[in-house]
């Protein structure tokens, strides 16, 4: 049995779903729980082919509820474990994720966004931002990384395990059907050679007899009185707030020079970045801001980036899900917000460019 799925570094050309399977393997994930839904299926396909070679496990469950709850069980027993889902599967996944949120269980879930609402398309969208950031009956105490390339898909899937186990909040890698299905190049590597990897530990089944050698683990998410819940939740919220500065990640370009600030995330950021860079090269005063963590949101960083902006353009393959986050996090800033919403369809650099030019030339209010 091989121990190391990857040694050193290796340039590869593969689909995003394959990237996720390799990243989870490389990060030392021991078990995947999953249920078929397009466009994430190939994560399971690659995992089930690769996992046995490295002594890793897989369970295909009866639905996403079960995938999420067996995932929670695997994590409670002390394993690095993960799942992957999309669309209606992500809806069902919110129930177990709210339990993970309540009980600080370090789950990792990869979301390959597809069209919505309902069954919609199996292809692509950015319409699962609300759900992934704030799904469940809770406060959104989660970490959501929005990736834009295969390299990031690899890097952040690995990072998700470290973040989850370090901070004990459910952690999501939010990609999409395009990223799932396309092929592009990236460098895969053994993260154990490059960075400190957070080790998992069991919540239940530790050595010794409970009540005799140690306290029993009595893990719960139900409280009989309001104050009890408030106390528990306040502690979690305080932990989350404390972690925010360490968690938030973003990328920005030309914000010091720009009158127009374009905001996009995920794969749409690629189109936005290309359009903006071209226009900047042509001497136009335009820059971009890209949140990598959608939850927590890089609020201070966005405010700083928007300081010089005279107008802001939010571009997304959804009808205002990123926009809502932007608006909330820019509260108080007196800058007109313009939008380019294309729910459920891809956005090309040409389309972003056209919109930017119209805004810069004052041809569009």
């Amino acid at each position: 049995m091989n121990d190391k799925p990857i040694t050193g570094e290796k340039k590869v050309f593969m689909t995003g779903n394959e990237v996720v399977a390799w990243a989870a393997l490389a990060a030392g994930a021991e078990v995947m729980f999953g249920y078929p839904i397009t466009p994430q299926n190939e994560i399971m396909h690659y995992w089930t082919r690769l996992a046995p070679k490295y002594g890793r496990k897989f369970l295909q469950t009866e639905d996403e509820l079960s995938a999420g709850f067996t995932l929670i069980g695997g994590v409670l027993a002390g394993k690095k474990a993960f799942t992957a889902t999309a669309g209606p599967g992500n809806v069902l996944m919110q129930e177990p994720m709210s339990m993970a949120e309540a009980m600080r269980i370090p789950t990792v879930a990869v979301i390959q966004q597809r069209g919505g609402p309902s069954t919609a398309t199996v292809i692509y969208s950015q319409q699962e931002v609300n759900l992934t950031c704030f799904g469940g009956n809770g406060e959104g105490l989660r970490v959501v990384y929005s990736t834009s390339s295969h390299q990031e898909l690899f890097d952040y899937t690995i990072k998700a395990f470290n973040t989850a186990w370090k901070y004990r909040f459910p952690t999501f890698v939010l990609a999409d059907g395009y990223q799932a299905k396309m092929r592009e190049s990236l460098v895969i590597y053994d993260p154990f050679e490059k960075m400190e990897m957070v080790e998992p530990e069991p919540f239940v089944g530790k050595p010794g007899t409970p009540g005799v050698d140690r306290k029993p683990a009595h893990l719960r998410n139900a409280y009989s009185v309001e104050e009890e819940l408030y106390e528990a939740l306040s502690k979690d919220i305080a932990d989350y707030e404390k972690a925010v500065p360490e968690l938030v990640e973003h990328e920005s370009f030309n914000t010091e020079e720009s009158e127009l600030l374009v905001i996009a995330h995920g794969v749409v950021y690629r189109s936005a970045a290309m359009a903006v860079k071209e226009l900047a090269e042509e001497g136009r005063k335009v820059g971009y801001f890209r949140p990598i963590t959608l939850r927590p949101f890089p609020q201070e960083q966005l405010k700083e980036a928007a300081r010089k902006a005279k107008q802001i353009l939010v571009v997304e393959s959804a009808y205002g899900q990123l926009y809502r986050l932007v608006r909330e996090n820019l509260y108080g800033a007196d800058i007109p917000l313009k939008t380019m919403f294309m729910p459920g369809v891809g956005i090309t650099p040409e389309e972003v460019r056209e919109k930017c030019v119209a805004l810069l030339d004052g041809k569009e209010a």
Binding site: E62, G74, G205
Partner: protein, 250 residues
């Protein structure tokens, strides 16, 4: 000299006693049977107890064993995940009839079909008790509940679910399925112990339904309570073993 058994099983958590169930509730008896079985098998150090939502959630600190209180119907998959991640543990999914037969029925059916090496104990008290006494999949024909105020009409809502019979029908050799009753404590305890042993031997899915009492929602006095469980319920829900691995028959 006659050895006198302590009243409280060793695996119980004395700090959470007296327990939180209503007077006359059967949960305490089912958990006593489980506690004694754990003691006799000497597995307190490797049992993980999972409890559902409903009255079963009140058992979250009942034992001095590692315990996870989950969501309504989801205890089975959580225990499946734990068992698969650490097969050395002995896991118990403890749930009510609503959790097991309604909202979590897909998990029960599929865990049984996959022959997961876990033990499920399902408490059947013919109603959703925690939420105030609504109709459950196990409510008796004609039985009055908050959502069947004129009695359960089987033409409208079907007949009570026969869980162990179903589990027996869909599982293969190695699985265990039985129905006991808090009114027959020794038999119930024997079934629970066999269900744990069956998991420990790695033979297969082990399922025990325990007929139980709910005088609060049945609105019955002690005599009526015992009459309901021993006569009405037992007539419809026969006690006994429905599937026993080869060589483990009584």
């Amino acid at each position: 000299m006659v050895e006198i058994l302590p009243k409280m099983p060793k695996s119980w958590n004395p700090e959470s006693k007296p327990h939180k169930f209503c007077p006359g509730c059967g949960h305490g008896l089912v958990l006593k049977a489980l506690g004694q079985a754990i003691d006799e098998l000497g597995i307190q150090d490797r049992v993980v107890f999972g409890c559902d939502i409903g009255c079963s959630l009140l058992s979250w600190d009942f034992f001095n064993v590692d315990t996870v209180q989950t969501h309504h119907g989801r205890t089975t998959p959580v225990m499946v995940g734990i068992k698969r991640a650490n097969p050395n543990l002995v896991v118990v999914a403890y749930m009510g009839d609503g959790g097991g037969y309604a909202i979590g029925s897909q998990h029960l059916v599929n865990a049984a079909t996959r022959n997961e090496k876990i033990t499920c104990i399902l408490v059947n008290n013919t109603n959703y008790a925690m939420t105030g006494g609504q109709m459950a999949p196990t409510t008796m024909p004609g039985q009055k509940t908050e959502t069947t105020p004129y009695g359960r009409d089987v033409e409208e809502t079907g007949y009570p679910m026969l869980g162990p019979e179903m589990v027996a029908a869909i599982t293969r050799e190695g699985a265990y399925a039985a129905r006991g009753s808090v009114a027959k404590f020794a038999q119930l305890k024997k079934y629970i112990k066999k269900a744990l042993e069956n998991q420990m031997a790695g033979r297969g899915f082990s399922f025990v339904e325990a007929l139980s009492t709910c005088p609060t929602n049945w609105r019955t006095n002690a005599a009526q309570t015992w009459q309901f469980i021993e006569e009405t319920m037992t007539k419809y829900f026969p006690l006994g073993e429905f599937k026993v691995p080869e060589g483990k028959e009584d």
